[in-house]
C-alpha cells in the first residue's frame, strides 16, 4: 500500500480549467473522498492520478515516486468505473482474473486468487456466470474483485455506487467500508453524494469549480466548514445563513443580528465592515420563548426521530432540527436560541469563514 501526494496539479481543456492548482496528500491506508457537484473536477483529478488523463502542470507522487507522466499500466493502481466496465465477452471469473493475466501469473495461481477474491466479496457462487446477466450489486462486486485481486498500491473509484438503487447503495456503502478496513488499501473515492463521503471516508476533499474548498476529516468539514460553499454543500438540510452587515474586531464575542445581540465563538481577526453571514446548523437551534430572535413557523417536515421546522425570521428562513414530539401551528410565533459554541461567521463577498475560536480547535486539536 502507499501514499498518494498531489502537488499543484492543474488541468486545462482548451480554455476551460477543470482542476485548479490542487495539492493534497492521501496517507497510507487512508480513505479519501473527493466530493463535489458534477463538473467540479473531481473525476478529472481521479483520472490524472490513474494516468488516464495527463495534467497540464503539477506533479503526482505514488510512494514518493514521480508518476506524473507514467502510463496507466505502469502505475500499479486499480480503478473502479462508474459504469463498472466489465468486459461483456468474458464471464465473471475471467473478468476478475484479467489483471493477473497481463502480469503473466500462472493459470493455477490466477484460479486460486480469483476464488479467494470472490469469497472475500461473497460472489464465489456466480464465478461462471456471464456478466451481462448480473444484478447491479453483483456487477459492483465483480468490478471491485477485478480491482483488489492485483493487490495494487491504491484504489481509485469513480462514483461506483452511482447507478445502484438507493436501498442497495446503503448496503454497498457498508460493504465498501468494511472491505477497506479489511484490506487497508489507500483509496480515493469520487462521489457527489455527501452521505457516502461522510459514511466511508477518513478524509474528505470538497471540490467546487476545480478548486479544493476544504480538505479534512468528515467532522472538521461538518463542524468547521472553511467556506459558505462547503457549509451549504454538506448537511441536510444545509447550514442556515443569517445575514447581517457589520465589521468585526479580533476578540469580539458577540454580534448584532437585527439589533439582537448573539453570542459567538471568539473572533480571531479584524474584518472590515461588509455583508456577513452567521452560519448555524439546524441541530444547533433550540426553541425558547425568552429568545429575542423571533419568527413565524413557516412549515415543518416530520422525519420520525425528529422534525425540521422552517421559521421565517427577519434575517430569512431558518430551518431547525428539533425533537419530533412538539407540534406547531403554521404562523405561530417562536423564539430561536443558538448554541453559541457552534456558530460560524462568513464573509459573504469571498464566502470564506472568519477565523474564530471555533476554528482555532482545528489547529490545536
Amino acid at each position: 500500500m502507499s501514499e498518494i501526494k498531489i502537488v499543484n496539479l492543474r488541468k486545462q481543456f482548451g480554455d476551460f480549467v477543470a482542476v485548479e492548482d490542487s495539492s493534497f496528500t492521501v496517507e497510507d491506508g487512508e480513505f479519501l473522498a473527493l466530493l463535489g457537484p458534477s463538473g467540479c473536477g473531481k473525476t478529472t483529478t481521479l483520472r490524472m492520478i490513474a494516468g488516464l488523463e495527463l495534467p497540464t502542470s503539477g506533479k503526482i507522487y505514488l510512494d514518493s515516486e514521480d508518476v506524473t507522466f507514467n502510463r496507466a499500466s505502469a502505475r500499479d493502481i486499480a480503478f473502479v468505473f462508474q459504469l463498472f466496465a466489465l468486459y461483456p465477452h468474458m464471464n465473471v471469473r475471467r473478468n476478475i482474473g484479467f489483471p493477473l493475466l497481463s502480469q503473466g501469473v500462472p493459470k493455477a495461481e490466477i484460479r486460486a486468487r480469483v476464488e479467494e477474491t470472490a469469497k472475500l466479496l461473497r460472489i464465489d457462487h456466480i464465478l461462471d456466470r456471464s456478466v451481462s446477466g448480473l444484478a447491479g450489486g453483483d456487477r459492483q462486486r465483480v468490478a471491485l474483485g477485478r480491482a483488489i485481486i492485483r493487490r495494487p498500491k491504491c484504489f481509485l473509484m469513480d462514483e461506483p455506487l452511482g447507478t445502484l438503487d438507493a436501498e442497495f447503495r446503503e448496503v454497498m456503502v457498508h460493504e465498501l467500508r468494511e472491505l477497506h478496513n479489511r484490506i487497508d488499501a489507500t483509496t480515493v473515492y469520487v462521489t457527489h453524494d455527501q452521505h457516502e463521503a461522510m459514511a466511508m471516508a477518513d478524509k474528505i476533499a470538497v471540490m467546487n469549480h476545480g478548486v479544493i474548498e476544504q480538505f479534512g476529516t468528515p467532522q472538521e468539514i461538518y463542524n468547521r466548514p472553511a467556506s459558505m460553499y462547503v457549509a451549504e454543500f454538506i448537511g441536510s438540510p444545509p447550514m442556515n445563513f443569517m445575514r447581517f452587515h457589520s465589521g468585526l474586531k479580533r476578540g469580539t464575542r458577540s454580534i448584532l443580528l437585527d439589533a439582537v445581540e448573539v453570542a459567538v465563538p471568539e473572533v480571531g481577526e479584524d474584518v472590515a465592515p461588509g455583508e456577513m453571514a452567521l452560519g448555524v446548523r439546524p441541530e444547533h437551534i433550540r426553541f425558547s420563548d425568552r429568545s429575542r430572535i423571533r419568527g413565524a413557523v413557516y412549515g415543518s417536515e416530520y422525519l420520525g426521530t425528529n422534525q425540521i421546522v422552517a421559521v421565517e425570521t427577519a434575517a430569512g428562513i431558518v430551518k431547525a432540527r428539533i425533537s419530533a414530539d412538539r407540534s406547531f401551528r403554521l404562523g405561530e410565533t417562536v423564539g430561536l436560541e443558538f448554541n453559541p459554541a457552534k456558530l460560524a461567521i462568513f464573509d459573504c463577498a469571498s464566502g470564506r469563514a472568519i477565523a474564530s475560536s471555533l476554528y482555532a480547535e482545528v489547529r490545536h486539536g
Binding site: A50, G51, L52, R71, A72, S73, R75, I77, A78, F79, F81, L83, F84, A85, L86, Y87, P88, H89, F98, P99, S102, Q103, V131, S132, L134, G136, R139, V142, R146, R150, T163
Partner: protein, 318 residues
Amino acid sequence: MSSVNTAAHSVVEPTPTAKRIAGTIVILYALVTMIPLAWIFLTSIKSPPDSISYPPKVVFTPTLEGFCNLFTTRTRQTPDYIQALPPPTGTCDEITRGRNMVIAGPSNYWPRFGNSLLIAFGSTFLAVSLGTLAAYGFSRFRVPLADDLLFFILSTRMMPPIAVAIPIYLMYRQFGLSDTALGMILLYTAVNVSLAVWLLKGFIDEIPREYEEAAMIDGYTRLQAFWKVVLPQATTGIAATAIFCLIFAWNEYAFAVLLTSGSAQTAPPFIPTIIGEGGQDWPAVAAGTTIFLVPILVFTIILRKQLLRGITFGAVRK
C-alpha cells in the same frame, strides 16, 4: 379492471393479426427474391433443349450435363470413333458421348473460381483490417483534420469506381499489375476501405472507452487492450462490414473484365464466356452461377450469429 385488460393492446407485444400480416409479407418477399435463384438452380440441372424450351418447363428429367459441360472442354467426334473407344469411365464421359463428343480436358472454371476466392477474401481481409485500425484511430484519438480526412475517404465513393477505369488501366499496365491477383486485391481493397472505415467507426464509437481504460489500468498496453477488449466487442460490426466488402469484391464485373483476362481472371468475367463454347449452353452457365453463389451463402450463414447478435447489452449501463 379485467375488461380493460382484455381490451388493451400492449405497445410492445404485437397482436396475432399483426404477426400474421408481418409473416405473410416476409414469406412473399422471400419467395420473390428466391425465385431467380431457384430458376438458376433448376436451369443448371436441365438439358440444353429443356433450358430454352418455350413455354419454360417446370417438370423435366434432371441431368448433370450442365455441370459436366462447365467443368470440361469437349471435342466433337464421329459416331464410329466413339464406338471404337473403351467403355465410359464416369457419368460425364457417358453424357458427353451421348452428344457425339469426347472430353478433351478440364475447363478453366475451377482456376477462375480459385482466383475469385483469393481476390475477394484477400481484399476483404485487407479492407476490414485497415478499416478497423483507421476507424479505431479516428474514434479514439484527436486526429488532426479528422473530419476532412473522413470526408476525403468518403469522397472516393462519390462516383462509380468504373469512372476511373481508364487511368487505373493505364497505371496498372505501367506497374505490371494488370492481370495479377495482387492488382485486383489492391483495387478492391481501395474501393472497400472507405466503406469499412465509415461503417466500423460507427460501431467502434459505440464501444465505451471505459473498457480500454480498464484494460490499460489492469496492466495492458493500448494495442493489447485493442486486441483483447475492443476487437471482441466489435465483432458484430466487423462481420457486417466483411460481408458487404466480400459481396462487392465477389460480384465485381467491370474491373475484372477490363483488368484480367488470363491467369488472374475471376469467375464473373469467365462465366459468360461459357456461352460461346459450342452453342448457347445455358445449363453450363447456370451451373457455374449456382456454384458461384455458394461461398457468399456459406460466409453469410457462418457470420449470421454475429450479424444478428446486435448491440451487446453488456455490463456497461447507460
